[in-house]
């Protein structure tokens, strides 16, 4: 084991892992964090805490993560390179680890243009690949990015994202290979709706033997309505929503669409369980956390292993 991360232990045991996420509130209401986390608590191995998701200001990922940690749960600290330079990242990691947060996710982050401060200067001092390498060096060599020794290095289990659907498609396995080379331990993918394309990408991953070097958690998002599906198709960068997903939701009355969305999510999990190299699922139920336990149970991923 490289770390004390619960997620690492679950993955090492060979069981399918389950993670989910919690977006911190847009204000000083800690109870919003703890309420959301409480909904997920028995059904996941780790809870991603997003970092100013979609470039909207929110309670910081680290502090919301501490609130979750204090409930005895397992937050996954997300960190975007948009908002912090390497000094700020490293100090945040030291702080988070001091509170027992031992799992993190290294991301570039959505451009500020999408958020509520489009006039802000993005930092982008280092990119997500370089961030992975920095965190790995902090853990395995006990060195800061600048080369100085850390007095008590943070032992982070290191995650990153992958979007098999963004183009150029032929680069998507190669980019994963770069993240592996940089030292990533696990990957959470973009929400998967185009299962065929995802399987094609996974085949590329397996062909290169990358599945032996990194754990892939397949990203699952239940659709609440056909409106949400259309919005994601048209407005969210890097999303691939096939027309039959929209047609299927259109085909049921509005009140039944949430249920249909959950059914589709469960079916996707069932199918992807069979795919070589998929070592778990990352369930992103956006502002719909209360449905996660149901999805986990229906997909036969409950109870979670005790590690």
């Amino acid at each position: 084991m490289k770390t004390d991360s619960r997620l690492e232990k679950v993955l090492a045991s060979g069981e399918l892992a389950v993670t989910s996420e919690c977006g911190p509130p847009r204000g000083c209401r800690p109870e919003k964090v703890t309420e959301k986390a409480a909904l997920l608590k028995d059904h996941v191995d780790g809870i991603n805490v997003t970092d100013n998701q979609t470039a909207m200001v929110r309670m910081s990922s680290c502090t919301a993560g501490i609130l979750i940690k204090q409930m005895g749960l397992d937050p996954i600290l997300q960190m975007v390179s948009r908002d912090r330079n390497r000094l700020a990242m490293q100090s945040e990691i030291l702080g988070a680890y001091s509170f027992g947060i031992n799992t993190m996710l290294c991301l570039s982050g959505d451009h500020a243009k999408f958020g509520d401060h489009p006039m802000a200067q993005g930092v982008f001092d280092i990119d997500s690949v370089q961030m992975i390498k920095m965190v790995q060096q902090m853990r395995d060599k006990g060195l800061f990015q600048g080369g100085a020794k850390i007095d008590g290095p943070p032992k982070m289990f290191i995650g990153a994202a992958a979007n098999p659907f963004a183009d150029p498609f032929e680069l998507r396995v190669m980019r994963l290979a770069k993240k592996v080379k940089a030292g990533v331990d696990f990957i959470q993918t973009q929400c998967i709706f185009n299962l065929d394309k995802f399987e094609e990408w996974m085949k590329g991953v397996v062909d290169r033997g990358l599945d032996e070097q990194v754990h892939i958690l397949a990203g699952i998002t239940p659709m609440k309505s056909v409106g949400m599906a259309r919005y994601m198709k048209n407005k969210v960068p890097g999303m691939d929503i096939p027309d039959d997903v929209i047609k299927r939701l259109e085909g049921v009355p509005k009140e039944q669409q949430p249920e249909e969305g959950i059914k589709m999510a469960v079916e996707a999990i069932e199918r992807l369980k069979q795919v070589k190299g998929v070592h778990g699922f990352h369930i992103m139920a956006i502002e719909w956390e209360e449905k996660v336990p149901q999805i986990v149970e229906k997909a036969g991923l409950y109870p979670r292993p005790k590690v």
Binding site: S81, R82, R86, S108, G109, D110, H111, K113, F114, G122, F124, D125, I126, D127, S128, V129, Q130, K133, M134, Q145, A161, A162, N163, A166, D167, P168, L171, M174, R175, A177, K178, K181, A182, Q190, P237, G238
Partner: protein
């Protein structure tokens, strides 16, 4: 070259409101090429200012000059004979030109008439696009001649990010994804394998993080 665009006329009018004798100075280099502050634009701006003052029943005296290079003290010296006869200078050069004038003439206020935008290249007639951010440690040799600093909206060194859509940047469908371009070019050159080499975290000092840059060529200085 350095690109610029003329400021809104109202902003320029506000700057010069307290003055009646203006020296309006263009530049024959970059701002001429991007049609923001050359001899022609100096003439047009002078007419616009005259017209505005006429409408308001005010008098304004504008002397027009276009220097060979406003970022060069040698040429800026050409303004010396006129400077005492004016209340203010309005410069149509990039920010470098404005500052060269300000450094030379301590007692006369100088106002910019253009917004300096970026270092770019001409793409087609009347279109200029950003190409370089002056990072001080050029990587074009390993990115197939396409700059990830200036042309990737997140200046990623190991792109593309997950936001690329139909080959365009997540920021706008009008912006080419730099990393799509880099990849296509590496393929054309048969250098695909280069893509998987990790590009290390950048040292931003030569590009400005180390404080304002200065180049000293001992052989010339």
């Amino acid at each position: 070259m350095i690109t610029a665009e003329q400021k809104p006329i109202q902003e320029i009018i506000q700057y010069i409101a307290p003055y009646s004798k203006i020296l309006l100075v263009g530049c024959n280099e970059c701002v001429t090429v991007c049609a923001a502050g050359g001899r022609k634009e100096v003439g047009l701006l002078a007419s616009a200012l005259h017209l505005n003052h006429l409408k308001q029943g005010k008098n304004i005296d504008i002397r027009e000059i276009t220097l060979e290079r406003q970022c060069d003290p040698e040429y800026v010296e050409e303004l010396a004979p006129y400077i005492d006869g004016v209340d203010a200078v309005v410069s149509m050069a990039c920010g470098c030109g404005v500052q060269t004038i300000a450094a030379r003439f301590k007692k006369t206020p100088v106002f910019p008439a253009v917004n300096t935008r970026f270092m770019g290249a001409s793409v087609s007639q009347g279109v200029w696009s950003e190409r370089c951010k002056g990072c001080g440690d050029c990587v074009l040799g390993i990115t197939g001649g396409i700059c990830p600093v200036a042309r990737c909206s997140k200046h990623l060194f190991n792109g593309p990010c997950g936001g690329t859509s139909n080959g365009q940047c997540e920021v706008s469908p009008d912006i080419d994804c730099a990393w799509r371009l880099i990849w296509e070019r590496l393929k054309e050159l048969g250098m695909e394998s280069r893509y998987e080499e990790l590009m290390e975290a950048k040292d931003w000092r030569p590009g400005g993080a180390g404080g304002p840059g200065t180049i000293i060529r001992e052989d010339l200085a």
